[in-house]
């Protein structure tokens, strides 16, 4: 069934039509023009069949073109078509009379339309009536007659006679055998793609065609390129995590090692104290940080390190005057949901400082952090933080600026500027701004700085080791990238899955390298 999909219409009409197609095309190959009306009349074909065939040829493509015309003419009435076939009534009356002896009149009048035929034959002088006998006898008055009416009808039917004002035509109109008609016909000419060898095209290639080789001779319908295709069934990754993959890739390209950040619960020591964040700092307020009631505290710490951290806070050490306050052990024991991934960086740096000989390190992470903040369209209680750091001898602020240019260049940002800022654990601290060409303004894209000696020296690093670091959120640049205004449209259970499924490939395009 599939093999004949292009030509499933069956029966004699189709065959007649397709042979007519061929004939019409053959005709056109030798003639400049085809008039459907006269073509049909000449071949004794139904005009509608010819028009229909022309239409079907046109549907195959740019093979022929047709132009519609209208003309006034005369045509036979239905009654006249009967006369054309069977002869005029008067002729039939005449023929019904035996040539030698005549016929009784009542017998003759039983013929169809005998009244009209008898009257017409009488007026033409074909008959005589012998009223002496009972019933009266009708006899031929002449030996032979011509059926002029049928002949006229034939001439009209074959378009020999088209003048509606001719005397004999007017006579036939009176007899309601001829009427004025309007003809819609077409003149057909060859078009650019003309060929006598056409057939209804197949919709698609099939494996049977390939095997039989019929694809070589069969015409194929062109594909529709103006409609959309059928979507495949597919799964997809989340838009935010696609951006995460890009950032992760950039760090890996730059030679950074990923930190193990799979510990959302952290204690205040590693989250705050080790980062030289004083115990009365607003960030440690219940208004800003999620504290845990269960498990509420951590009691195991590297004791020697803890004492140094306590000292640098409370009384100052390592060249710092410290914050000069009463540092509390129970405050450092409190478990929190980590407020930044820098807590993990701190653990990693502490481990690094414990190694016998210092080795330079480049670390990064992208993972969740938690803030007990007031929520709005751009703030959630949890978000992803991107963080990178380099530990080496004698790194400078200029090195940090250089690395930030390298990093942000990979994100397509080349116009950066830096604002002095404050952060408890970095000094100098810089806010990073990038000029956004689309928004036509400078936007803050991250924070950065050099870790304070009060953070590094208690770990055991020597004074000439510096650590430069920077961080940014994953959600904010993603919202700018996708033009999303409400963070709940990007993450969380309220996200419209259709948005995720329509989301394009994420390709963060780097700027060209510096000249």
């Amino acid at each position: 069934m599939a093999t004949s999909k292009g030509s499933t219409v069956s029966g004699s009409t189709t065959e007649k039509s397709s042979s007519l197609q061929a004939e019409i095309l053959l005709y056109l190959s030798t003639n400049n023009e085809l008039n459907t009306w006269s073509y049909a009349k000449e071949r004794g074909l139904d005009h509608q069949l010819v028009v229909g065939t022309i239409r079907s040829i046109e549907s195959l493509g740019d093979v022929i073109k047709s132009e519609q015309h209208t003309s006034r003419s005369i045509g036979l009435t239905d009654e006249a078509k009967g006369l054309l076939r069977d002869g005029s009534y008067e002729y039939n009356i005449f023929q019904a009379i035996p040539a030698d002896k005549g016929i009784e009149q009542p017998q003759l009048m039983k013929l169809p339309n005998a009244n009209i035929g008898f009257a017409k034959a009488m007026s033409k002088g074909w008959l005589q009536v012998d009223k002496s006998s009972k019933p009266p006898m009708v006899k031929r008055k002449v030996d032979t007659v011509q059926d002029e009416v049928q002949h006229l009808l034939q001439r009209i039917h074959s378009l020999e006679l088209t003048d509606s004002s001719a005397e004999e035509v007017v006579e036939l109109k009176k007899r309601k055998l001829v009427e004025d008609v309007t003809i819609n016909y077409f003149t057909v000419t060859k078009s650019a793609g003309f060929s006598t060898n056409i057939s209804k095209p197949e919709a698609d290639l099939t494996s049977e065609m390939l095997q039989s080789g019929s694809w070589k001779t069969v015409n194929f319908k062109p594909k529709n390129f103006h409609a959309k295709g059928l979507l495949p069934s597919y799964g997809c990754l989340h838009p935010l995590l696609k951006v995460r993959t890009e950032y992760r890739q950039i760090f890996l390209e730059m030679g950074f090692t990923e930190m193990p950040t799979n510990n959302f619960v952290e204690n205040s020591f590693w989250n705050f104290d080790a980062l030289f964040t004083p115990q009365k700092h607003p960030a440690r307020d219940v208004q800003d940080t999620f504290f845990l009631s269960d498990p509420a505290v951590t009691t195991k710490f590297p004791e020697e390190y803890l004492q140094k951290v306590k000292e640098v806070h409370a009384t100052g050490a390592f060249g710092s005057i410290g914050y000069q306050y009463d540092w509390q052990l129970d405050e450092t024991q409190k478990n929190v949901l980590r407020t930044h991934t820098t807590a993990v960086s701190t653990r990693m740096l502490y481990q690094l400082a414990q190694e016998k000989t210092f080795r330079p390190a480049k670390y990064f992470s992208i993972d969740k952090v938690f803030r007990n903040e007031n929520l709005d369209s751009t703030h959630l209680a949890e978000f992803n933080q991107i963080e990178g750091l380099i530990a080496d001898y004698n790194l400078t602020l200029g090195d940090l600026i250089g690395v930030l240019y390298q990093f942000f260049r990979k994100l397509g940002m080349t116009k950066l500027r830096f604002k002095p800022a404050y952060n408890p654990y970095t000094e100098p601290s810089m806010e990073i701004f990038s000029y956004h060409e689309g928004l036509q303004r400078w936007i803050e894209v991250g924070n950065s700085g050099m870790f304070r000696p009060e953070m590094l020296l208690p770990m055991g690093f020597s004074e000439d080791v510096s650590v430069i670091a920077w961080g940014l959120s994953l959600e904010r640049p993603t919202m700018i990238l996708y033009g999303i205004n409400n963070i709940r449209d990007l993450v969380g259970p309220e996200v419209d899955l259709k948005m995720c499924r329509r989301n394009p490939i994420c390709r963060v395009i780097p700027a060209k390298s510096e000249e």
Partner: protein
């Protein structure tokens, strides 16, 4: 970050010129401030600049400090020298009871001050700013300022039983007993948040003059008697505190900012405070700390190359007093206003700010390292891609949830679930860390029910209590997948599990026992799942998760209408 509001006209008057908003924004940017907003002042052509101040710069929390710092930065003026007058100091005595509630008091006098309505307003606003920030909402330090001409020194700082304290508080018509007063202020929109600082104590801190006039009931309210006004000439400032270091900072900030309106500008009259043990200490302590700083070290940290002379000029522009000792050494006097300078690195940063961060030549560190992925993250990403390739859509849901999200909604009780609990959630949504990814995915389906089927997955961490860990807790990386449709489609979820197992090269264990391969153990029931449609996923003999058709009760609890099959497994064993 604190934000202060200053009238633009007054600021430009202090700066000696006008700026366009863009120009002033740039000046702020260079100094490390931020012009946050420009707000119109009603019935005036003037506007108010809202300027964001770094949280450690208490010396620029008012118009006086801001304009002084900027003028010094722009080299229009020099850092003033703060001096103590030679007048015989007023005395203040601390009584022993105060040690039980709020042990410290410091104080000083601003003599012959001339306020204008604007400068008086600034004086009040600075107290508010300090109370909000450094004073941690008056818990650590509380400031009281008084018209000295209305009260009679010496002053007494005592702590007495509430019923023994009775006075007319600021702007009130009648006297109240201190306990009544606290109940009264518990209803006050501004003061109610301070009431709890002392309310439960058996004694309340109070300051009297020698005529038994109450100056203040710290940290709540001053007395009406010593109330200041724009006409006040002589100002007595006292700060009561639980943190002496911060009390000194607060006192010094108030004095150094407003001593510029004294008839002898920047001269401050000291107060001697007799401690509970009889020792006498004179306040304020305006001694400047002196540091010897290596210019080479500054250059080294910042990545610039400037000489000692240039470094000294840059530091002076940042309100530090630097003088050149030799080609590599500066003597830097750190004024009392710069309590943010803790270490050499703070001085180096100030030098960099004045040099201009954006003038520093960028360099690229030579640090050479090979990058490595965290293996758990690498495996997670591979599994995420596989789940998406299998036709599942990835969701990203919240780590925090309510107790009922993991317990009641699944027919369980929270006591039996090893969840970590949050002590201070602001809403029910943040009671615990999730112990399963299921609730987040079911909520995602709830919001997307209209098109079925839904094939959803997530690979994320859950949090479990674990006493063997340092913090008593650990994360666990899970894969969770759901199929939601008119029929549960368990075979689809089951097929996903089989597919994942193929990908991580774990064969099916036909024998359904032992420590090889994986199989499903359906010997138990779970209230979250439809009876007979639940199994544990056993990998290498270990139970790593669950698979099954969710119980209709669970479907109802999450507001869903169609059946759902689910898979949730720990993927850490595949690393």
């Amino acid at each position: 970050m604190p934000t202060i509001g200053v009238k633009r006209s007054l600021l430009f008057q202090q700066l000696g010129r006008t700026y366009t908003d863009e120009e002033f924004d740039q000046l702020c940017f260079d100094y490390g401030l931020e012009l946050d907003k420009v707000e119109p002042i009603p019935d005036s052509t003037d506007v108010e600049y809202k300027v964001e101040i770094p949280a450690n710069r208490y010396d620029i929390l008012c118009l006086e400090g801001l304009s002084r710092a900027l003028n010094i930065f722009l080299q229009k003026t020099e850092l003033p020298k703060f001096t103590l007058s030679n007048q015989k100091p007023i005395r203040m005595k601390i009584l022993a009871n105060t040690q039980r509630i709020r042990p410290f008091v410091v104080g000083a006098v601003l003599r012959n001050v001339t306020f204008t309505p604007d400068s008086y307003n600034s004086f009040i606003k600075l107290q508010d700013k300090l109370h909000q920030n450094l004073c941690r909402n008056r818990t650590l330090v509380a400031i009281g300022t008084h018209d000295l001409d209305t009260i009679q020194p010496p002053f007494i700082y005592d702590a007495r039983e509430p019923k023994q304290i009775k006075f007319r508080s600021l702007n009130q018509q009648t006297e109240m007993q201190a306990d009544e007063m606290l109940e009264f202020y518990a209803k006050d929109t501004h003061l109610r948040r301070y009431v709890s600082i002392i309310q439960d104590s058996d004694v309340y801190p109070v300051i009297y003059d020698s005529n038994n006039v109450v100056l203040s009931l710290p940290p709540i309210i001053n007395g009406d008697h010593s109330k200041m006004s724009v006409q006040t000439k002589n100002v007595f400032v006292e700060c009561t505190a639980v943190d002496l270091h911060k009390a000194n900072t607060v006192l010094n900030t108030m004095l150094t900012m407003f001593a510029q309106y004294c008839c002898k500008p920047f001269e401050i009259e000291p107060v001697e405070v007799e401690q509970a043990d009889g020792k006498v200490i004179v306040y304020p302590n305006l001694a400047e700390r002196s540091e010897s700083v290596s210019v080479k070290k500054i250059n080294q940290r910042i990545g610039i190359n400037i000489d000692a002379q240039t470094a000294a000029i840059l530091l002076n522009r940042m309100s530090l007093r630097a003088t050149v000792l030799d080609t590599d050494t500066l003597r830097v006097e750190i004024p009392v206003t710069r309590t943010d300078i803790l270490h050499f690195c703070d001085i180096a940063e100030d030098c960099a700010v004045a040099y201009g961060f954006n003038n520093i030549v960028k360099t690229v560190p030579k640090t050479s390292c090979i990058g490595n992925q965290f293996e758990l993250n690498r495996v997670s990403d591979l599994i995420r891609h596989s789940a998406a390739e299998a036709g599942f859509t990835e969701a990203l849901t919240f780590t925090l949830c309510s107790c009922s999200d993991v317990a009641e909604k699944f027919g369980k009780t929270i006591e039996n679930i090893p969840a970590v609990h949050i002590a201070n959630p602001k809403t029910q949504e943040f009671q615990i860390g999730r112990t399963t990814l299921l609730p987040g995915l079911l909520k995602t389906i709830f919001k997307n029910q209209d098109t079925q089927p839904i094939q959803l997955f997530e690979v994320s961490d859950i949090i479990l209590k674990d006493a063997t860990q340092e913090t008593g807790s650990r994360n666990e990386r899970h894969l969770c997948a759901l199929f939601y449709n008119r029929t549960p489609g368990f075979e689809i979820i089951h097929g996903l599990l089989d597919r994942i197992m193929t990908l991580v090269k774990i064969p099916y264990n036909e024998s359904q026992s032992g420590n090889e391969g994986y199989y499903l153990n359906n010997q138990y029931e779970d209230s979250a799942f439809f009876p007979g449609s639940y199994a544990q996923v056993i990998v290498k003999g270990q139970n790593v998760g669950v698979i099954g058709v969710l119980h209709p009760n669970v479907i109802e609890q999450f507001g869903l209408k169609a059946p759902c099959s689910a898979l949730e497994i720990n993927i850490e064993p595949f690393v």
